[in-house]
Structure formats: structure tokens, C-alpha cells
Symmetry: C2
Subunit: 349 residues, 2 copies
């Protein structure tokens, strides 16, 4: 690769002049700038990231770590792309670039994170899918890398985070279903130790108890958070003895709904007719019949909050975003549909 | 940020020893290695990417440029996440990390690409959504950055590319529909100048002509490639005078199908009953009724081919992947469903 030295020699200019021309400084005349930029293109000159980072102490890049793999986002992602959109809206103001750091599901997230930091190409990080105990949080804190977590964790180093209001979804969801006479309310939970699983189950359990309903672990349905997982849960429900089946269901993952609906039709338990459902809003959900009663939030706005809260924690940007350390639960809005209109006594086969 | 110099001073070791310890060289004893690594963690030492890149001439990172924004992937992406999965399978063999370079739809892709290259943090790039004339290809070639394109382009610098067999989809799709008596066959095309739009329309037109059917530009339906776009096309079809509507439809984008189905039900033209449809397979498509006749390919395998073909073009890896410059059209497999079983004379309201 051609460096700035070779470029300067070829043009018979000083390294300083070439550097100023390449960096768009105003004290270089247009003709020189054009000569330099043409020569840079012809010679395959690549301004080195490393050199820039060393000089300015900033790469201009923020990484968003997300997990990939056929069981996670391998069948399409309906969540992160909208969040990215919001994050980029904020970063564009500061000429920061967002890159998605794709951690394969076959890899240990902690080891991946250490490698990301060792490569050192980002100024700051956004992490997601926080685990109940998350080593990445300790690690980033120890390395003094600015970061924000999408998702709470028991691991708390006083870092900024945003999370969805899983407690609110449990409370509103259980109360709505109980009001229609449901006492056997099923929920989805992830297969791994993602923190949101624990948070939601805890809140669901508390809300049941406040209605005098005993917690039944058989009503927690664990599956992959994708279409197939939704389909599998429908079949798992049908396989239960009739009296033990849930008559209502809270599905807090938006990617599973279509498969869940379809699976319920297959097993003769049509959604909204034989099983009351409250789910999460998504672009797909708008095309379901019966209309899904769902919890909605603007993922773009969530992305904007994530980005602004991250910048608020970075000294270079804190003045523009004087929010301190943001640790915030984002509420969701209930959109009324028809999928939970039935009463408990209509349920069953 | 603490550098290696401060770390060495604090430990009273030479910079060379600290560097060897941090890089896992075998000539450093275990006790020293532990001392160095503990101190590095305590002092927030970050090995600098730039320094590494300068030393080894490699960042270990490959960037995959994709467009984001609510009209593109902002409503969820069912394609790229699976492709990433395949790419990562190959890269894991070489300890290469894949990062997604997210170019906002509000930004010029050419300017974005120039900035990505200026930041210089990736060894190689994968570009997608190639335009009919694509400046990124010229630019990457001029800068001597190894890259592969997912999608053909008229801009050809002899670079490697992979593309889906849009000609094959047009030929098989048109022939299947013509065999059922259809002569008014609608197609979807993108709103922008993505090359696949041109390629598909050309092939569709040729195939129609081989059957003696005149090309009618009113049967090209342009829309955003998402659920909403599919829904809009259904309404656009219903708004046409009856005799001018298509009786069959080729929908080559997989993200639009659910919205298309739903829109057709809304306007009283049930899919497979009043309009014959051939689409693209996706995880969502499996849950549609009537079952979608669709073109299928393994996106994971596509990702694997992309990664291997890129590595084949890089001197460091060419020996392991002796494929030369890969320029290949990937065939799709037809999955028979029920959505195109009806004959043309059953169409209409």
C-alpha cells in the first residue's frame, strides 16, 4: 500500500502539504488539492486508520454488537435494523459511523468482545442481548471503553443502559387476560440466560400472585426467538392435556408471531378464538388476522435514545447531551386488537 | 488511554517483553504474562488497532456494506442476516471478523464508501445492492482494496462477483404462468437504479416475447422492497380497470410477500384464487396460505460462497481457495406450492 511519504515524494511536495490537502484543510489551493487527490487515486494511497487514530485519538466509529446465527437473527431480523436507523440519525450529526459487530452464535460473546477491543477500531460500543451476569460489562469498564447496554444486567458498574419495560408488559398483559377470566396464562422465555427472560418471568410471577394465581412452571414455553420457535410453541400447547393448556398467552418477542399464529391454525386452536394472545408489534403483525393486540414502541426512537445516551457518557459529546448517566426503562404502548378479546371459557379445542 | 510505554514503566519491564506477553509469544513465562495482563486490565491499556495494522499490514476485519433506512431494511431484514451467517462460517476458519457497514439510505453510497476506505479499518470489503453503474466498484479498484460484489453491474473492472439467477427466475416464472394461460403477468421492480431491476425486466421481456406476448410497461409495479410495498402493489392492481389487471404475478423480493398476500385479501383478490403468484422463499413464506410457489436458495450457502470467493481474490488466502476470479450466477430452485395453480380464466374479481 502506498503511504503518504511515497505520495509526497512522487508529487515533490512536503508531507505536511499532502496531509493538509488530503484532510481538506483550507490553506491548500484547489489545484494542489486536485493533483494530490488524483495521485492518491492513481497510486492506490490509503490513509491509514491506525495513523489517524493515533493522531486524533478517535476512529469516528461506534460498534453495535449483536449476535447472529440461524437460531437468532439467521432467519431475519425485525428489530435491530430499525434501531440502527435511529442510532444513525444521531451519529450523522457528528460524522460518526455505526458498524454492526456480528458475533456468531457459535462464538463466546466474552471472547468476541475482548477481540473487538483488542482490534481497537471503535471509539465506543453498544452492546445488546445482555445476560443476567454479563462479563462484557466488567470488561469494557475495566478497559475504560465508553459503552451503553441495550438491556439491564445484574452486572452493574454504574454504566448507562436502556431497556424495554418488561415489567409493564407483564403487568398490563396479565391484568388484561385475568379480566377476561384467564387463570392459565402462558408466556414465552428464551432458551439462554438473556436477562430479559429473568426480568419478565419475575414480573409475570408477581403479577399472577397479586391476582391470587399460583405460578406454574409448565406455562413457561422456551423456544428460539424466531418464526419456527413460535410455531413450535403452538404445537407444544396442543400436545398438553386439555385442562393444563394455557387459555391466554403473552408473546413478548415480535419475530415469533407469524409462526405462532400459523401453528395455532394447524393444531386447531385458532388465535383469538381458542387462545387469547397479546404480543409485540412489528411490521409483520399489521398483516395478521385476527388483529394482534400488541405492545408497541418506536424502534427508531429507541435507537435515537441509545445513541444520545451513549454520547452523553463520552466527554467529547457530554456538553451537547447533558443527560448524565442514562439508566432508563422505556415504556411500551398497548395497541388494542382482536386477538385477546375472547373470554377464558371460550378457550380449548 | 494507557499505552504500552506506560504499562512497561509501571511494571519495570521492557516494552518488548510487555508486547510479547500481550501478544501471547511463547518466550514469556506464565507469571510475567499474568502480571502484564493484570496490569493491562487495571490500567485500562488498549492495544492499538492502528499499531497492529501498521505492523502486520492486516486488520483482521472484513466489512460488508449494506444500506439501511426505514424504506430498505428499516422494517427488518430477512436476507442479509442469513448471508452473514454463511460468511462468518468461512471467516471463523481464518480468525477474520465480519462487520456490517451500515450506509444510511439518506447518504450517498459513493461518499460513504470513500469514507469507509479512508478510515481504513478493513482488509477487504463485500458490497451489495450494486447499481447499474456503480462508482464504488471503480473506486475500490483504483484504491486496490480487495472486494467482491453481491450483484452484477455494468461497471466491470474484472472484479469478482456473485449474483442470483434473475434470468432463470424470469424464464421459469413466465413459462409456468403462460402454461396456465396467463398473458398479463405483473412483476415487481425496485424504485431505484439497483441493477437487479434492469436484469430482471430484460429477462422477463425476452421471455414474454419468446411466447409471443407483447411487453406492457403498466405491468411493472414499482414499490419499496418491504411488507408495505407488497401491500401497496395489491392495491395498485385492484385500482386498475379489470381487463388491464395482471392475472399472474412474479414477486422476486421475499420481504414483500406477507404484505402482498394481505393486501390481495383486502381488495377481494385472494392470492392463488384470483391472482396466480410465484414469489421468493423466506422463513415467513412457510407460514402463508395458500402455500407460496417460490424460488429458493440457501442464503447461508450464498454467504459461504461470497466469503470463499472474496478470499480467493486475496493473495494471503488464494492458495487455500484456488478459484481464480469468481464471477458466478447462483441458480435458484423452484419449490412447488399452490399459489400459482389456478388458470388465467379464473382470475379477476
Amino acid at each position: 500500500m502506498t503511504g503518504i511519504r511515497e505520495l509526497a515524494q512522487r508529487l515533490n511536495l512536503s508531507i505536511g502539504t499532502v496531509s493538509r490537502a488530503l484532510n481538506g484543510k483550507p490553506d491548500v489551493n484547489e489545484e494542489t488539492r486536485k493533483r494530490v487527490s488524483d495521485a492518491a487515486a492513481a497510486m492506490g494511497y490509503v490513509p491509514n486508520q491506525a495513523g489517524r487514530a493515533l493522531r486524533k485519538g478517535a476512529t469516528g466509529i461506534v460498534g453495535f454488537m449483536m449476535q447472529t446465527g440461524s437460531q437468532i437473527t439467521g432467519e431475519g431480523d425485525v428489530f435491530f435494523m430499525s434501531v440502527f436507523d435511529g442510532v444513525q440519525t444521531v451519529f450523522a450529526r457528528h460524522k460518526l459511523d455505526l458498524v454492526a459487530l456480528l458475533c456468531s452464535s457459535e462464538e463466546d460473546p466474552d471472547a468476541y468482545m475482548q477481540r473487538v477491543v483488542a482490534r481497537g477500531f471503535a471509539d465506543a460500543l453498544i452492546i445488546s442481548a445482555t445476560k443476567r451476569h454479563d462479563h462484557r460489562i466488567d470488561f469494557l469498564h475495566s478497559r475504560k471503553i465508553p459503552f451503553i447496554a441495550l438491556g439491564r444486567s445484574e452486572t452493574d458498574v454504574g454504566h448507562p443502559w436502556l431497556d424495554l419495560d418488561f415489567e409493564g408488559m407483564a403487568e398490563t398483559g396479565v391484568s388484561r387476560l385475568v379480566a377476561k377470566g384467564h387463570r392459565r396464562i402462558g408466556i414465552f422465555a428464551p432458551l439462554d440466560d438473556t436477562n430479559l427472560g429473568f426480568v419478565f418471568i419475575d414480573a409475570y410471577r408477581k403479577r399472577l400472585e397479586s391476582h391470587g394465581i399460583a405460578f406454574d412452571p409448565d406455562l413457561i414455553f422456551r423456544a428460539h426467538p424466531n418464526e419456527r420457535g413460535g410455531h413450535d410453541i403452538a404445537h407444544a400447547i396442543a400436545a398438553m392435556p386439555e385442562g393444563q393448556r394455557p387459555t391466554g398467552f403473552l408473546l413478548t418477542n415480535e419475530a415469533m408471531t407469524l409462526g405462532f399464529y400459523n401453528g395455532l391454525y394447524e393444531v386447531g386452536l385458532p388465535p383469538g378464538e381458542k387462545l387469547a394472545i397479546i404480543g409485540r408489534d412489528s411490521p409483520q403483525a399489521h398483516f395478521l388476522l385476527p388483529k394482534l393486540t400488541s405492545f408497541h414502541l418506536s424502534l427508531r426512537d429507541l435507537g435515537i435514545s441509545l445513541a444520545e445516551s451513549l454520547l452523553a457518557s463520552m466527554p467529547e459529546y457530554a456538553e451537547m447531551y447533558p443527560y448524565g448517566t442514562v439508566r432508563e426503562i422505556v415504556p411500551l404502548e398497548l395497541l388494542e386488537g382482536d386477538s385477546d378479546a375472547m373470554c377464558a371459557d371460550q378457550a380449548g379445542p
